[in-house]
């Protein structure tokens, strides 16, 4: 049984004109030590998916249906008190902008010690030692001085290192990282990413990486899922999707990437833009921008179909697969 | 009420009343006036507050009783030696708070100090000298025959000469009187009165204690300790009484008379007062006011009864003249004359049928309901087409405007220091003359040489009946000439807890004789 299983998760936002469907029947799973990538344009619902696992969706969002099983226990049904024991302890999070994540008026030490004391009966002294060790682990220069400094006294990169250290404080099973390096400048990004990966592998921690950077996902994750307008349109082993993307949207994304091998090729641009949550078209949400659109796509949401180890929700793809299965073994 | 001054012979009998044992002075009294005394030097300022203080910590030679007769205090008796001299005999066995005994020398020292004090100097102008005859007798001599000798003598509160002689630690004379800085006398006191000041924080609280060997053992007063707190805001002062915070308050605003009367725990005492409230019509500023018919029209347009009943809530006696009842100059034949039709007829006769516009000024925190009275008068004048541009000011800003005669009609209230009619005319109706100082508050610039001559004559007329006739004639002439617009005499009101028997110790001059107060 997988470490984390999300089944048909529905999340809605009660906004003025009635409820907006932020996530529609999202299902995926995450095994121990596995690295999963969530990809999609901004506003596709990646962050909402991440936050809804720990029921941290801001007002007026709420979980409308489905379940989130962690070691068999359904997190979405848990009481706030029980869920608190999981948050930060078994599942840790890393936010996007290190400038905003740490409380500006509290020292780094306080914010680390409190995380430990929230889950363990431990003296402040002992908590500070653990925090110091973790800071060394994320290779921050002169860690003891850092404990008594305020967030504004550290650089962006150093702050993200602190946040990673905090995530690892209680040896969690899963780390959910919501675009951990986007806010950093390029030179630091690679460094921080490498550090995060190394630490996850070292402690066999499962990593759920939310990003819009396909390149990063292809190098770092083992499985990936592509999201569009709150739905997973394609998920499967990263290698298979990157090399042979099935869903037209995924193909569009990949073709939009500049390839080292083909200098001077005009980058493909997917026409139009992703609809906002309040104007999601019926049927397959991508149909207005899809080159292979058919009437069927305009009416109903396609079912998932298996293509290799990849699940895809697209009528065109499912038609192609049927042809392949029906075709006799013509070719030797 | 003509027997005013002839009573002094009768009073002799009182002095030798049998000596009664003084009641055990244990009660304490919480008192709230609308202001606390400005200074402890009773010669520094001539004001109601200071005189009330004087009656608590000092004793006068003689004082007014309820029915406006003289009651001997430190002066056992007095008799007229000749036209200009009155011989007084002091009471024996009277000691000051400092322990020194009271002698005629102390009275002479007090008399000299009164002659220097800027405020009291005017009252003692007619007196030439105080001659000490012996330890307990002295003569009070006037430069010419002066009928109000005893009235003035009520202002003499003998001070402890020894206590106030020499210099204080800063080297200034202890007896010095100064308006500006604080002098020895403004901080320390030694009198013969029933109470001594034990602690004083100006504007906050003044505490008094009964003087152990007070000479007047016959006094029924059983109050041992008094704490006086000034409460400026009428509303708060009344609430303090009703909530039991204080035992005795004065003054009581007219609007709260009802409430205190029908409250079982509190008792109310009112008396008709001697302060006249009136409007002047400035003839120099506004030419039509020189026509007697216009002035009479204004006089007819004013409804004194309406103001007294509605605005003062019956807490004032409508007035047609300056002298209140009980004064020599009071002329019973003069009555209020409210008659709008007659007023309109007079205006038409004077050629002002369609009226005119005048300016009017009044204070808004000096006299009881002063701003509301001014509004009512303005409304009444509007009925005969006199359009009034009214402006009310706080008293600090009002008086400079009054001195400049800044408006056509101006309100003023007056209480005669000498409790005698002549004082009214000297300051309010005589022709303004800066040398002699007469007509200093005559904002109407009314000038009638005849009446002025009559007042001067009255000031030297010792035959009281003739003097009364003269003064009443002046009142009649002013009435016919509509020299001013009299409104009412302000009543006085005091309120206290049921257990505090304030009725016997109160008087028309508003000097509560707290020494004799009985608290059950």
């Amino acid at each position: 049984m997988a470490l984390l299983e999300v089944n048909n998760l529905d999340v809605r936002f009660a906004v003025r004109g009635g409820d907006l469907q932020a996530l529609q029947s999202i299902s995926f799973s995450l095994d121990k030590g596995e690295r999963l990538g969530l990809v999609g344009e901004s506003g596709a619902g990646k962050s909402v998916a991440a936050f809804s696992i720990l029921k941290l969706i801001a007002q007026p969002g709420y979980i409308a249906g489905g379940e989130v099983l962690f070691e068999g226990r359904n997190l979405s049904a848990m009481s706030e008190r029980e869920l608190r024991q999981i948050r930060g302890n078994r599942i840790a999070m890393i936010f996007q902008d290190p400038m905003m994540t740490l409380n500006p008026v509290l020292t780094v030490g306080t914010q680390m010690v409190e995380a430990l004391k929230a889950h363990r009966r431990i003296s402040t002294r002992a908590a500070r030692d653990i925090a110091l060790k973790k800071l060394q682990k994320v290779s921050i220069p002169s860690p003891d001085k850092r404990l008594d400094q305020y967030p504004h006294e550290l650089s962006g990169g150093m702050r993200q290192r602190v946040i990673i250290a905090i995530a690892l404080l209680l040896d969690p099973d899963i780390i959910i990282a919501d675009e951990p390096t986007t806010a950093l400048d390029v030179t630091i990004q690679a460094e921080i990413m490498a550090l995060l990966l190394a630490l996850c592998e070292q402690d066999n921690v499962a990593l759920m990486l939310i990003t819009h950077d396909l390149g990063l996902v292809s190098q770092v994750t083992q499985r990936m899922l592509v999201m569009y307008s709150g739905r997973i349109i394609e998920q499967g082993p990263t290698k298979e999707i990157i090399n042979d993307a099935q869903h037209p949207y995924t193909q569009g994304l990949i073709n939009a990437l500049p390839q080292m091998g083909e200098p001077g090729r005009r980058l493909y641009q997917i026409p139009g833009s992703m609809p906002s949550l309040s104007r999601i078209p019926p049927g397959c949400p991508f149909h207005p921008r899809c080159p292979f659109v058919t009437d069927e796509c305009r009416q109903t949401m396609p079912e998932y179909v298996q293509s290799g180890n990849v699940d895809v929700a697209c009528y065109e793809v499912s038609k192609l697969i049927e042809q392949e299965n029906r075709a006799p073994e013509v070719t030797p | 009420m003509k027997k005013l001054l002839t009573a002094f012979v009768g009073s002799l009998a009182l002095a030798s009343a049998p000596v009664a044992i003084s009641a055990e002075a244990t009660q304490s009294l919480k008192l709230a006036y609308d202001a606390d005394p400005v200074t402890l030097d009773i010669h520094e300022q001539l004001s109601g507050g200071i005189l009330q203080l004087s009656h608590m910590t000092f004793d006068p030679l003689l004082r007014w009783s309820n029915d406006l007769t003289f009651e001997p205090r430190l002066a056992k008796s007095w008799e007229r030696i000749d036209e200009n001299t009155m011989r007084f005999t002091l009471r024996e066995g009277v000691t000051f708070h400092s322990g020194n005994a009271l002698t005629s020398e102390d009275v002479r020292f007090t008399f000299e100090r009164l002659k220097q004090s800027p405020d009291f100097k005017a009252i003692f102008k007619p007196f030439s000298e105080l001659k000490v005859v012996d330890e307990t007798t002295f003569d009070l001599i006037t430069s010419e025959p002066y009928p109000l000798l005893l009235n003035a003598a009520t202002y003499i509160f003998p001070m402890d000469k020894a206590f106030y002689s020499g210099n204080d630690k800063d080297g200034n004379a202890k007896a010095a009187i100064s308006k500006q800085g604080s002098t020895f006398a403004s901080r320390n006191q030694s009198g013969t009165g029933p109470f001594k000041v034990t602690s004083r924080q100006q504007g906050v609280k003044v505490e008094f204690e009964r003087f152990a060997d007070y000479w007047d053992t016959a006094s029924p007063g059983n109050v041992g300790k008094i704490s006086l707190t000034p409460i400026k805001e009428n509303n708060t002062r009344v609430s303090a009484l009703l909530s039991g915070g204080v035992d005795f308050i004065a003054p009581v605003p007219p609007t709260d008379l009802e409430r205190i009367k029908n409250n079982p725990e509190t008792s109310l005492v009112t008396m008709s007062g001697t302060r006249i409230i009136l409007f002047h019509m400035n003839q120099k500023r506004f030419e039509p006011f020189q026509d007697v018919r216009v002035r009479q029209a204004v006089a007819y347009a004013i409804n004194q009864e309406g103001i007294a009943a509605k605005i003062m809530k019956g807490f004032a006696t409508p007035a047609a003249q300056l002298s209140p009842a009980g004064y020599q100059g009071h002329n019973d034949s003069l009555a209020t004359r409210f008659d709008v039709a007659k007023a309109q007829a007079l205006m038409k006769e004077a050629g002002y049928e369609d009226g005119f516009t005048i300016t009017m000024m009044a204070p808004n925190n000096r006299y009881v309901n002063d701003d509301k009275i001014a509004q009512a008068v303005a409304a009444m004048l509007a009925r005969i087409n006199i359009k009034v541009d009214l402006k009310t000011l706080p008293k600090a800003q009002y008086w400079p405007e009054f001195d400049d005669r800044a408006a056509d009609m101006m309100m003023i209230g007056w209480h005669a220091d000498t409790e005698d009619s002549a004082n009214f005319y000297e300051f309010l109706t005589m022709c303004p003359n800066s040398e002699t100082g007469t007509g200093q508050y005559n904002a109407g610039n009314y000038c009638n040489p005849e009446t002025d001559a009559m007042v001067d004559q009255a000031n030297v007329e010792t035959d009281l009946d003739k003097r009364a006739a003269l003064l009443q004639d002046v009142e009649k002439r002013l009435y016919d000439d509509a020299a001013f617009v009299p409104l009412h005499w302000q009543d006085l009101a005091w309120a206290s807890k049921g257990s505090v028997k304030i009725e016997p110790i109160l008087n028309v001059m508003n000097f509560p004789y707290l020494g004799d107060l009985v608290v059950e």
Binding site: A58 | T39, S239, S243, P400
Partner: protein
């Protein structure tokens, strides 16, 4: 830090100089002081002599230079009415006002923080709506009306007979709404404990505290609604921020998140705005002190106005100006301490 203090002291002196110039220039508009000092029957000549003595006839410049000369040596002139140096009079009355302001601030502090935080955390709860409603009404009622109602209810007492007394529930309701009063409605009471110099405090005796209650409540009634709404608005804004969600993601307990993480950030703007309001509150005491006959500087100033006691008025305005600059400085210092991101040169974040 020193530079910051020196800068503020020089500002304080400038402020006091400007105030003294303004208040001195309106001298004649304040009425004639002599009127209060002299009896009514004193002749004009006599008054002229005294006026000359007091130097009231000198030209404006001469008077101001004399005043400034003395002011530099710390003597702000003598009050006509009290006959004592004005500073002495002010310091005699200052403790009463300061205790009133401290009392009101305590009430505000202890009430506005919990209510403000609660209203921010549960904006939909009916209790929050109730508090916000009361605070809006509170702002709309002028302070002297509140004061009078307090006196009527709690010191005089009100017997209510709206409900039919014969019925059980009627008399019970009547009893519920009636009050028998008894609270002191004026002055500071007799139980004042002498602390030091002219400071007689009412905090240390039950009688003193009872006298302080109604005036402090009525003074607080002006500022309390303002602080509740301020804390609520700031708190709601802070609760949206990322570091609060991150604190939740760390699994911290709600009260720690609300009362440490969120509250500390909320208090920053509250301190700056609040500090300024405290300075203003000193000026608001005038109304409260008038109604409660509270012997503070407010009442003293008002009486100085009615008596046109000009030296006292000028000195009071300067002292209030000084108090204001001092409170501003203290507010900036406290802000600097609480907000680590601000270096102590008094720059606001």
């Amino acid at each position: 830090m020193l530079a910051f203090l020196v800068q503020r002291i020089s500002q304080a002196l400038l402020v006091m100089f400007v105030i003294s110039l303004i208040s001195f220039s309106i001298q004649d508009g304040l009425g004639d002081p002599l009127q209060q000092m002299v009896g009514q029957s004193v002749s004009e000549a006599e008054r002229e002599k005294i006026r000359e003595e007091l130097g009231l006839n000198d030209s404006f410049v001469v008077q101001y230079l004399r005043f400034a000369g003395q002011a530099v040596q710390g003597d702000l002139g003598t009050s006509y009415f009290y006959g004592k140096p004005t500073l002495e009079v002010i310091f005699e009355h200052l403790p009463a006002t300061l205790e009133l302001v401290i009392g009101a601030s305590l009430i505000i502090g202890f009430l506005s923080v919990p209510i403000g935080v609660y209203a921010a955390i549960r904006p939909r709860a009916w209790l929050s709506k109730f508090f916000m409603g009361i605070s809006t009404v509170g702002i709309s009622i002028p302070v002297f009306l509140t004061a009078i109602v307090l006196i009527q209810l709690f010191s005089i007492g009100v017997t209510v007979n709206w409900f039919p007394p014969e019925t059980g529930w009627g008399s019970w309701l009547n009893g519920l709404f009636s009050t028998e009063g008894g609270m002191p409605s004026y002055g500071r009471g007799d139980g004042l404990v002498h602390l030091f110099g002219t400071w007689h405090s009412g905090f240390f005796s039950s009688d003193g505290l009872r006298h302080l209650t109604l005036p402090a409540i009525s003074l607080a009634s002006i500022m309390l609604p303002l602080f509740i709404r301020l804390i609520r608005a700031e708190m709601m804004e802070v609760l949206q921020s990322d570091y609060i969600r991150y604190a939740q993601a760390k699994g911290l307990a709600p009260h720690r998140i609300h009362f440490l993480h969120a509250l500390k950030n909320t208090m920053l703007p509250v301190i700056t705005v609040g500090g300024v309001q405290l300075g203003i509150m000193v000026a608001y005491t005038i109304l409260t002190e008038t109604v409660f006959q509270w012997p503070g500087v407010g009442l003293m100033f008002l009486e100085a106005i009615t008596r046109s006691d000009i030296p006292l008025i000028v000195s009071y305005l300067m002292v209030v100006g000084l108090i204001f600059v001092v409170t501003n400085t203290v507010v900036d210092l406290v802000y600097g301490l609480v907000n680590p991101t601000v270096k102590l040169t008094g720059k606001k974040a």
